[in-house]
Symmetry: C2
Subunit: 453 residues, 2 copies
């Protein structure tokens, strides 16, 4: 252990230095580019971020899975990076996007008078009567320019985040008169919320049936295909090879900042959300593209029973934000540039930093991705997912506990249907938190940490 300690001290100093250099070089390069376009320093605009929008720190140890981030990011800078500062990367809170939206200024600002949008109804005559027509229009525009999904001959169903739409799909696909609940499966590692949401009310309509790879029950089932996958970022296809299955594609991360857009997805049921496309998690808005009219109708019915529609205010704001994104793609020389360029650069930078830190530390491994051609960005690149699916190598057995003892909060692999040697780490936090995280990861002492437990 003593030997390890000294080895890691030296190694870690090296990796810290390398990481900071790479970070500085990349940032200088990218910011120079931005300044030429916008005349605005990203650092300045970052500093202008309201500190009162940052969550406060509290209750670091009593957190529950998926519950509030009892401890969250503070607003201190890298320079004042104390070891006792808790970095919460458990949730995929997409606050890294704030910096882009600051640059768009008034373009993305929305003004809602007190008398507007008072009715329950957005478009009483349409199948999804609570869908704002303006939002529907912008969804189609965005998919058309990005080329990530076919919108023709589809019904759009809006939901309070794609989380509600997932439940709407389960409701829509489950026969009301079935003798036993419909099985719901997904290949592990699967999104940790799927089993929790599916089983939380002990529904007689549907039931979580675990890992799709080992599913061998006869009869109808639903297979969830998350692609790129949450948590590991791989592009996926259905794995259950049986009749009677209905596929649901969760495409929350199928955007060019995370993964090459190989082709327009053309599935029966596709789920999207603004949380991961534009970074507006607080809006709670998602959308489904649905081929079958009856399925779409039943999904609408669920959202009606569950929440009598979806916030109009957020839909109007989402329409505005998508409009700015699409316009930014059409006119990339605009002041703020394209959201996807911004986010793609940032994700590339972050993944480079992370891989450098992981490579040097020798304590962890990360998934490797082959590069692919992106028809939107017109380049070939390897995926840079919204989450890092980190594996702790031996002798570390519980990766989440190991990182927690270093005040880095992540989500354990056990919630994703695999073992505790894995954790999921959000890559979408604010710059100052991400920087502290990578810095700390590269300087973790195995001995110190193991003693601390």
């Amino acid at each position: 252990m003593v030997r390890l300690f000294s080895v890691f001290s030296l190694r870690n100093l090296l990796v810290l230095s390398v990481a900071l250099n790479v970070s500085l070089i990349l940032r200088v390069l990218y910011e120079k580019e931005s300044r030429v376009i916008s005349g605005l320093s990203l650092d300045n605009s970052r500093e202008a971020l309201r500190t009162d929008s940052m969550p406060s720190e509290a209750h670091a140890t009593e957190r529950e899975h998926l519950s509030m981030p009892s401890s969250s990011s503070s607003s201190s800078s890298v320079d004042s990076n104390g070891r006792d500062r808790v970095i919460n990367l458990d949730h995929g809170d997409p606050t890294m996007y704030e910096r882009y939206w600051q640059q768009t200024g008034d373009k993305s600002t929305i003004l809602i008078p007190g008398w507007q949008s008072m009715s329950y109804f957005s478009d009483a005559g349409s199948l999804c009567w609570f869908l704002e027509p303006e939002f529907a229009k912008e969804i189609i525009r965005l998919h058309k320019i990005v080329g990530n999904a076919v919108t023709e001959d589809r019904y759009i169903v809006v939901g309070t985040g794609s989380t509600q739409l997932y439940q709407a799909v389960l409701y829509a696909l489950s026969p009301l008169d079935a003798v036993e609940p419909l099985s719901v499966v997904s290949a592990s590692p699967y999104y940790s919320s799927y089993p929790l949401i599916t089983d939380c009310l002990k529904s007689g309509l549907y039931k979580w049936a675990g890992d799709a790879q080992s599913f061998n029950k006869e009869g109808p089932y639903i297979e969830l295909v998350t692609s790129p996958n949450n948590p590991d970022g791989y592009v996926r296809q259905s794995v259950v090879n049986k009749s009677g299955g209905i596929l649901v594609h969760d495409l929350a991360y199928y955007w060019p900042q995370y993964s090459p857009i190989a082709a327009a997805a053309d599935h029966d049921i596709m789920l999207f959300t603004v949380s991961k496309s534009t970074g507006h998690a607080g809006m709670r808005v998602g959308w489904a593209l649905v081929k079958d009219e009856e399925v779409a109708k039943k999904m609408v019915k669920y959202v009606e029973l569950n929440t009598i529609g979806v916030s109009k205010d957020s839909q109007l704001r989402a329409a505005k934000v998508l409009q700015v994104v699409t316009d930014g793609c059409k006119y990339p020389t605009s002041e703020e540039g394209s959201l996807f360029d911004f986010a793609a650069h940032l994700m590339e930078e972050r993944w480079k930093l992370l891989r450098a830190a992981v490579r040097q530390s020798g304590l962890f491994t990360l998934p490797e991705f082959p590069p692919g051609s992106c028809r939107f960005l017109n380049i070939s690149f390897a995926p840079r997912p919204a989450f890092a699916w980190l594996k702790c190598e031996a002798p570390i057995e519980d990766c989440e506990a190991f990182l927690r003892s270093n005040n880095i909060l992540t989500r354990s692999g056990i919630h994703f249907g695999v073992g505790p040697q894995y954790v999921r780490i959000s890559m979408l936090d604010r710059d100052e938190n991400y920087d502290v995280f990578v810095d700390r990861l590269s300087t973790i002492h195995l001995r110190q940490s193991m003693q601390g437990r």
Copy 2:
């Protein structure tokens, strides 16, 4: 029938004339008062309402209960009141409030920049981590000035409308390890959505058990007490007199425009919504005041699982709107006056018109309410509920079908646990629709309608 026809023709002409006179007198009186205060004609501001916000007409006959208003209000005036124009009063869409909010102008306008409220979290350290602190503050301010609910020693849980909070309560109160689902009851006539929402997923946690008055099962149960009641407007108390029951108070209509505020409600679990207090149904925001910390925590957990929180945009807008309402109460001489004065006047006028029409027609009856003292408005008055619970007298057996044959869409009593001789009618629609409705109700020919079926 021929005799009835001639009698009703004369009667109806009379009632139409009386109703129009009462309407004109009341409006002149109220508008004169408003003009003195604001220098603004209500009719002018009403005309300024955007017509593009009105739902379109379609599919009048194929409507389903609680589904989209396939046919809805058009924007034509009373003068062009054709018999074929469908008046949809099935839903409690509170569009009558648009007129008030127009008068508040910029005061109630909200501006949200693109970079704001992007995180999932509103107040990471608090029990309800997705509750905007500003909204919580305004909830307390409003209850304090109106005096309709005790807020001390309560947790506030925000929901996507009180509909979601109702489900959160069921989840929070149901033991996870129970051998059979918890019974949920409410005295009939009960809110038509309760049974539908409770049973839609065939939950193993809870189950709709019908009319509370005939409930006699042993063991724990939940009793829903809606007061004033939806649909009939009566003030209510618990009716099940057994041990093991948990009361949930739905106080959506306990506001001074509908009912005298006799005292501050002081129950364990109380539900409210902006839809019926300020008229902002499109926001999808409600709140619960909860005494027990564990119950509040489990409710938060449900909202987290169901929708990962509640739209921040709508919460910010709701905060603004409640602030304007409270300020309007504090400074009633302001330009727009108090929301409650506006709505109380309008509801009084509407109920007078409705009672005049019903009295003269002889086809219907309405509930009668004793007057009560209101500690907020400092006067005594009889309730003027948000819904009219109309009974068709013999020979009409199916009141909903009878009114539908006259192109008035209402919700049948069968959905509220009683017979088809009753219907629920929204009293909160826009002026032009309400006027056409009262006018038409007073001129319905029994013979003509019965033939038309």
